[in-house]
Symmetry: C2
Subunit: 335 residues, 2 copies
């Protein structure tokens, strides 16, 4: 026998000799059903290859309570894809499915895909904010859709957020470099507009100030032009008449760019990157590490909590960062 049509509750009900509602009850476990009725229903369902229609369930229940949307800039950066992995795992553990959408790191993209996801009636929205303003989500939030910001807090919007201890991590990196005798310490990043970078820069500056080291900004390179290759920024920096003896790279891309720029140098500057990466141990790169998988999990956990019992309050979760010494950050200054 071949099934030609997708089976519905009614089909199963007819075959089992009960009403559609009873079949519904068997699947939703909310109501008592006699054991042998359950058997009859399940047998009929198996025979017909019945699968409850989540679409219809969600429509009926008013809102796609079983799906969660995640808006990210792009999936190619391992940091983001690891966060996504954490979200997906946690959601799956709780029976939710994840819809992902990328914005191409553009502000219009963000609003556009948010619209698409909300049209799908996702039960909650996770996002890594790109723009300076997420107020366009305010209406939706008031309608009861939890919004959770990841990596950066949302702007002009009441929303929970899960971020890293950026300031503290950068502070630790700069302080360590000072401790190794460095006085000309650079901070490079591109793009630099995001919240994360301004926090990290703040931590870096604070550490220099506390140590009484030149914090004039001469060795800061805070760019905002995706067209400039990371290694070029570092090369320019090092061609300075009085080049820095140590470099802090604002993120994984910048760090790898810096590695490209300094690999053939006789006396490479010390280097500390932000974000750990796969081959950092092999390359001996000191980094400010953290746990992006856990970040995703925490965010998802918070999301589920908010979907299950909405509150007026919002939480700001900050996950720790810690310095992982691997050699490149422990080089003494060369004069």
């Amino acid at each position: 026998m071949t099934i030609q049509q997708r089976a519905t509750l009614d089909d199963v009900a007819r075959l089992a000799g009960v009403s559609a509602k009873t079949v519904s009850r068997v699947y939703s476990h909310r109501d008592q059903v006699a054991p042998d009725t359950v058997d009859r229903v399940l047998n009929a369902a198996k025979r017909l290859r019945f699968r409850p229609n989540t679409l219809a369930q969600n429509l009926r229940r008013g809102g796609g309570s079983s799906t969660v949307g995640f808006i990210m800039g792009e999936m190619l950066n391992p940091f983001y894809s690891t966060v996504a992995a954490g979200i997906e795992r946690e959601l799956a553990d709780h029976g939710f499915t994840l819809i992902v959408a990328t914005t191409g790191d553009s502000v219009e993209g963000e609003e556009r895909v948010a619209d698409t996801l909300l049209a799908q009636r996702v039960g909650a929205l996770l996002l890594i904010p790109v723009g300076e303003d997420q107020s366009y989500l305010e209406g939706e939030r008031q309608l009861g859709t939890p919004v959770i910001a990841i990596d950066r807090p949302a702007r002009n919007l009441v929303a929970d957020s899960v971020v890293l201890a950026n300031r503290q991590g950068a502070h630790a990196a700069a302080a360590a470099l000072v401790g190794h005798g460095h006085r000309r310490i650079a901070y490079v990043c591109n793009p630099a507009s995001a919240y994360t970078q301004s926090e990290r820069v703040a931590g870096y500056r604070a550490a220099l100030r506390e140590a009484g080291v030149d914090g004039s900004g001469r060795w800061e390179r805070l760019l905002d032009d995706p067209a400039i290759p990371p290694d070029e920024v570092v090369r320019e920096l090092l061609s300075h008449p009085e080049p820095p003896t140590a470099i802090i790279a604002g993120n994984n891309r910048m760090c790898i760019g810096a590695l490209r720029a300094i690999r053939d140098l006789d006396d490479p500057p010390a280097l500390i990157g932000f974000d750990d990466f796969d081959t950092a141990d092999i390359l001996g790169v000191t980094v400010v590490g953290h746990d992006p998988l856990e970040m995703g999990r925490q965010a998802a956990r918070l999301t589920i909590e908010r979907m299950q019992q909405p509150t007026g309050f919002t939480t700001q979760l900050e996950l720790p960062t810690h310095l992982i010494p691997r050699g490149s950050g422990e080089r003494a200054p060369v004069t």
Copy 2:
């Protein structure tokens, strides 16, 4: 004014003084509507912050024709997340949304998440097969859901597939090593059960055979125990009384493991990895490269094609691989 309720077609219709169907027409662009009616409707919709309910649309149209499901083993491997990125981009370009689900690389997981996605009535299913048998999807396929296998062909199931030129890539790697004078060439991978690995091993063996080099399998390590760390496999191999002078690593993980194992050796063996990775150029690692982003895009393109006009035929797409020499694979054998 604050909206308390999500607006529906009817709400918009009432405010615009037309019928719900007319509002529907305005949004679906399938039917003629008078220009000034369109204006009235759009104004009303904007005032009410109306967003068409995709859930209801998909239910009504019979099947979630606007969503596509993607089943992958795990998102942490950059190869897979890059494929996912390619899929997402291509789908988004065509107005589809992507639901991702991971199986934790387990066979039961695969069937379980497939079920979840099909319950969501996805319009098509993309998957990286894990198990030896995807016949459980046959019924669904007959109901008209296109199924597209990525990286490995589906087993016991009529499905399109997009794979790499694995055999040819491994052949090229082995042949190159032979060309550099190597005679004891190892192939290591873990897990080894997958289609990709058997193809690669076949290519490797063929190249050895053609060159008249020892193909006894003495230097093959085809494991299937995720608990064994990749670097350990390589260490064991090198502790052999007559160790290989060159190693081909079956995938990115194995390659990085091999790097860990050989980095402190005075005379490291030549190394060629399968799959390119972020810092491979810095580490000077020769790899068999390919384009996972494009792989995702092609798969998504094929998916869309199949959703729009189903055919009885299936395509097997094979994407090229090419050797990228960066030094580690060009080392001469040390005796």
